[in-house]
Amino acid sequence: MSFPISPRSRRSDGPSRRQVVAGAASGLALAALAPVAARAETLVDFVRRVTDGVAPVEGGVKLEIPALVENGNSVDVHVAIESPMTEASYVRWIHLIAEKNPFPDMARLHLSPRAGRAEVATTLRLAQSQTVAAVVAHSDGRYAIATAPVVVTLSACIDGG
């Protein structure tokens, strides 16, 4: 698996506006849209990609993010995980996913037992209203997840140029 935080992790493209218009113009709109509708990556797919196919369990992760933000350019997020943070059992990493961003993998935070407490915070960009997920990898191979819906009134992806 290629490392998820890379330019290659961009979502697979849907049909461009130009393709849809061209298809409609030639009277083939239905035929052109049918194969595309069958494949749209969802949050589940992005999560499976970082956990190597394992379905994470809910619980033990507290994801704090505002339910409504006016501006998607900088959204505070705080993640706290129940973990003893000892050599025997600690949080390896926390992966933040925004399902509808152009690059859904936003950041991966790597911790070590020396953290003492599994608690981190950062600032994110959100392209639109969507569900944000924090996937947590524990040292014993377990995966946990917490999700939160966020409403964004002004997105982060407006091109000023």
Binding site: A121, T123, R125
Partner: protein
């Protein structure tokens, strides 16, 4: 354009868990915007920050374009000994920046 502000407690007891806050000034250009001359701006973000303290890496964040401009990061660490915490950032294109912050343990 790079500037980092690192906040940690002035003093900590041995074994105490301290919070380290890092605020960086960086545009985190996600690329693809128009440059006004018919082309597009290349991506230029800080893609990694590592923190090293008392001989080991205590924290690392891999960042993609989903991290805000002027990113803020906070994390915890257990105070072990008096010493410098070394922060290192890696930028697209290969540039690196380093800063240190001293943690006093008494």
């Amino acid at each position: 354009m790079f500037n980092a502000r690192i906040t940690l407690p002035p003093q900590a007891k041995p074994g105490e868990i301290v919070e380290i806050k890092v605020l960086v000034r960086h545009p985190m250009d996600r690329g693809g915007q128009s440059d006004g001359r018919g082309g597009t701006v290349p991506r230029k973000i800080l893609n990694r920050m590592t923190a090293t303290y008392a001989g080991a890496e205590i924290f690392r964040i891999d960042m993609n374009t989903g991290v805000a401009a002027n990113p803020f990061v906070s994390f915890m660490t257990r105070a072990i000994e008096t010493g410098d915490i070394l922060f290192e950032w890696r930028e697209d294109g290969g540039a690196t920046y380093t800063r240190t912050a001293r943690l006093t343990v008494a």
